[in-house]
């Protein structure tokens, strides 16, 4: 009791020292608690983000893999040479039987795709070609001609626009060479002439002659003119080949957003909603969405944010992508409406000036400010969006998906988009938002492994190609009679491509209608598989069990936990944890020296007092206890205070959550807010460490104090 009294009173009588040392111990404790809670909560959130969306608790892949596998790819966005699991059905059966803790095994494979849905000219030309084909099928002349005229006019308008803008657009993305410039100029001149368009007026004369010329002209437009539009139509993204219904059912964070799920057993594609709403969306609309998010969620102001102003300016520059996608009638209608809208909603210095063209009007419309943004945003989506290609690939479309096979060749399959999905809570995160879902059958095709039906298809295709090439000589001669001089090579390629598309389309349609059982899907090659456990606390134990089964049954599996296959993301927690602990180590090391120094000072100041105690009968042990108790008391008080403040903060954010500052954090936080939590044991550990550090740092001062001679009591200074 007396010791405690002396210890406490000493602390109190040396206030400055106590405050300095105390505040270090206090800060270290607060940091340890809050930092620890942050790191651990992020670790839990990230684990949830990763295991419940993609990775599962355990991943398996081939033991023949020459590289370490990562489900999210490496930094360059490449995937690894990890070989394949040849007989997934067997693996699934064996593991399912022998490892009771497995709840589900979901086959996967991640690959990178690029698709080019084509620009507006491609789009219109495709429609025109469809009408031309329909014309052959004797659809009433009137309807088809009417639409054809409209489209032809639209296309000619687009070409007019190209002729004015292509040179400046190309100078932005990389200049054309002199030769290319010459050629482009020549080509544009050809299509600007009315002669070029004559065949389109008479296409359903249905003579072979006019049909061939028409085809040739369409190809010319597709190959020579459409590429002159500088656009961002190419899309790149990752997709996961899997059994879609198993994936959606077993990963709790995956949920359908728009459209339908891929029907069980069908081939198909689910866009990630993030990709669908960003990459895939008309870029003017996408920018408006982004501005809206910044204004609403981040409470920014157009007038104050350079980023938003840049977005607005980009929209003003690209109004051509709005009216270019509209027919003449639509443009006229929008013009009238915009004049009315703008004169009502601006402070009347624009007197309904009907002479303004659509470009000027749209530029004025997109020059938005804080007052009119939301009004114009709504106007855009109500009146303008329905008339443009808002999504390059719409839900319900069937589109050709291209990817590189492992051997480096480009491959392609047609896929129907059934809908979009997202990973709950962090749907806006670019990291999680990049993965789309594809059925395993199509995945195998794209990956370069041929299923039997695909082999059949290739055989048929080859036969048709052979048939066609026998006719080509005649076609070439025929084309020379056309009234426009078209390079024969182009035409030849075109015809080959045409036949290929037609036959592929038909066969693909058959594939798309086919239904596969789960077993059929599982029966074959997969790259990797996610294993979801019943009892997640036994991950390590189950991992070892799987390894054992794999070795016993010669499954040749490499078995790793989720953290290992999520690459830099999985290690992120390890990194921030290391940073936190590093920081704490630094602080505590500094604390050790400061405490040591200050306790030493206080021991030296007190040699007379200590000497007196020794003289009147206090043992060395007593002095040791006294010094240690003093630091123990100090360490205890300030670490408990710090832990208290830290826990209070953690508790405050436990229900409230910390809002994610940027989209990246959505993933780390597994949602828009991070709800802090902390295991009480952690607080005990912090207390223990801080107290130990203070005791440790007073060993030397205590040693000095213990060896103070009782003679010091007699000395007179």
């Amino acid at each position: 009791m007396m010791l405690l009294k002396i210890a406490f009173r000493n602390l109190f009588s040396r206030k400055l020292r106590t405050v300095i040392v105390g505040s270090i111990l206090f800060s270290a404790s607060v940091l340890a608690i809050i930092g620890g809670a942050l790191v651990e909560s992020i670790a839990i959130s990230m684990k949830k983000s990763l295991t419940e969306s993609l990775a599962g608790d355990i991943q398996i892949y081939s033991s023949k893999a020459t590289e370490k596998f990562s489900i999210i790819g490496n930094q360059e966005g490449n995937f690894f040479d990890v070989k394949e699991l040849d007989d997934f059905a067997k693996i699934k059966r064996v593991l399912g039987e022998k490892v009771p803790n497995i709840s589900a095994i979901i086959p996967q494979g991640v690959n990178f795709a690029y698709i080019n849905p084509g620009n507006i000219l491609d789009n219109k030309l495709e429609k025109l070609r469809e009408l031309v084909l329909r014309g052959e099928k004797q659809i009433t002349k009137q309807i088809s001609e009417q639409t054809t005229d409209q489209i032809t006019n639209h296309i000619r308008n687009i070409i007019k626009d190209i002729s004015l803008t292509y040179e400046s657009s190309f100078s932005m993305v990389g200049a054309l060479s002199e030769d290319e410039k010459e050629e482009s100029k020549r080509n544009i001149n050809i299509v600007m002439k009315d002669d070029f368009w004559k065949p389109f007026n008479h296409f359903n004369d249905s003579t072979n002659d006019s049909k061939k010329v028409l085809d040739a002209n369409l190809e010319f437009l597709e190959n020579k003119i459409a590429p002159l539009i500088v656009d961002d139509t190419q899309m790149y993204f990752y997709y996961i080949g899997t059994i879609p219904h198993q994936f959606m059912n077993n990963f709790p964070l995956a949920e359908l957003v728009k459209g339908d799920a891929i029907p069980q057993g069908k081939r198909g594609f689910l866009f990630n909603d993030y990709v669908y709403e960003t990459q895939n969306k008309h870029r003017v609309a996408r920018r408006l969405d982004e501005i809206k998010k910044k204004l609403e969620r981040d409470k920014e102001k157009i007038s104050k944010s350079k980023v938003i102003k840049d977005l607005i300016n980009a929209n003003i520059e690209q109004v051509g992508e709005i009216y270019g996608q509209m027919t003449q009638t639509e443009v006229e209608y929008l013009k009238m409406d915009l004049i009315r809208f703008l004169s009502i909603n601006t402070n009347s210095n624009t007197n309904a000036d009907t002479t303004k063209d659509i470009k000027k009007l749209l530029e004025e419309f997109f020059n938005m400010n804080d007052e009119n943004f939301f009004q114009r945003y709504n106007y855009f989506y109500t009146y303008i969006a329905p008339k443009i290609i808002l999504y390059r690939i719409k839900i319900g479309d069937t589109f050709p998906m291209k990817a590189f096979t492992r051997s480096g060749y480009s491959s392609s399959v047609n896929l129907k988009v059934y809908g979009t999905f997202r990973f709950k809570n962090f749907e806006h995160s670019p990291i999680a938002g990049n993965f789309n879902i594809m059925d395993l059958m199509s995945f195998r095709d794209l990956y370069g492994y041929m299923s039997s039906d695909r082999k059949e298809e290739n055989k048929k295709l080859q036969e048709e190609m052979d048939k066609f090439s026998m006719q080509t000589d005649g076609e070439e001669l025929f084309a020379k009679k056309g009234n426009i001089n078209i390079n024969i090579d182009v035409k030849k390629n075109t015809f080959t491509a045409e036949v290929k598309t037609v036959s592929r389309k038909k066969i693909n349609q058959d594939l798309l209608n086919q239904t596969y059982s789960d077993l059929e899907m599982e029966n074959g090659v997969v790259i990797n598989a996610a294993i979801i456990l019943k009892d997640k606390s036994k991950t390590n134990q189950t991992l070892q069990e799987i390894q054992k089964v794999s070795a016993d049954e010669k499954l040749n599996l490499k078995v790793v936990d989720w953290q290992e296959v999520t690459g830099s993301l999985g290690q992120f927690v390890t990194v921030i944890r290391a940073i936190l602990y590093g920081l704490l180590t630094v602080i505590l090391t500094i604390a050790i020296f400061i405490i040591m120094n200050s306790m030493l000072m206080s021991a030296l100041e007190r040699t007379k007092e200590i000497g007196t105690m020794r003289a009147i009968g206090a043992s060395k042990k007593y002095i040791l206890k006294l010094i240690m108790l003093e630091t123990f008391a100090m360490g205890s008080i300030f670490s408990i205070l710090g832990i208290g403040v830290g826990m209070a903060t953690v508790f405050y954010f436990k229900s409230r959550g910390i809002p994610a500052p940027t989209d990246i954090f959505l993933f780390l936080f597994s949602g828009p807010r991070l709800y802090l939590s902390l295991h009480p044991i952690y607080a005990l550990v912090v207390y223990f460490v801080v107290v130990c550090v203070s005791l440790l740092s007073s060993i030397y001062p205590a040693h000095i104090a213990v060896n103070v001679s009782p003679i010091r009591a007699m000395q007179r200074d």
């Binding site: 007396m2 009294k5 002396i6 009173r9 000493n10 109190f12 009588s13 007379k608 007092e609 007196t612 105690m613 020794r614 003289a615 009147i616 009968g617 206090a618 043992s619 060395k620 007593y622 001679s709 009782p710 003679i711 009591a713 007699m714 007179r716």
Partner: protein
Amino acid sequence: MTNLISNLISVENVCKDYKLGAVTVNALKEINIKISIGEFMTIAGPSGSGKTTLLNLIGCVDVPTEGELVIDGKGISRLSDKELTELRLNTIGFIFQTFNLIPVLNVYDNVEFPLLLKNDLSKNKKERKERVMYFLDKVGLADHLNHRPSELSGGQRQRVAIARALVSKPKIVLADEPTANLDSETGQNIIDLMKKINREDHTTFIFSTHDTSIIKQAQRVVVLKDGHISSDEMMK
């Protein structure tokens, strides 16, 4: 007076050397004194004559370079630090020139402090309280229990120190210049108090001083000069 039993302290051929840098100072040379129970003795002499050194040796806070001290029947050269500490705790009380109270403790706690170091009393609060109050009453500070040393006058502080020195009922009380930091009237009061306790409890008092008016009041005066005993007289 050379009764062996009554020899409480026996200093035999004691030398004490100090090293001051390269120079060795012979602070005490061949000292022989025997001190009996109940003596009221002063060690006098000019500064540097070795008074404090001798008190340090008798107080067991220092050990001789040569010779032997026997305190209450124990030869101190054979004792460990722990045993010396025990000896100081149980047999010797100290009064210092600079009072040396523990600044963070109040009067009561300061006096109680040595009792808490004793195994037999550290758990007996009642007994401790009786003792503390008895001695505080004796030094006339029973109504200052809760004062901190800084709130007391020099004389009051020295009385607290005396109470602290006496509370463990030591056989010997050593006082190093107990009045040097006090005015003469207060100093006299302290000496009177010491005399009274010596008379009532037969506690042996050994104190150093160079104040002649105090020297006169001792029963026995040992005068040190350059580390030698130059005289050793019994007064009456």
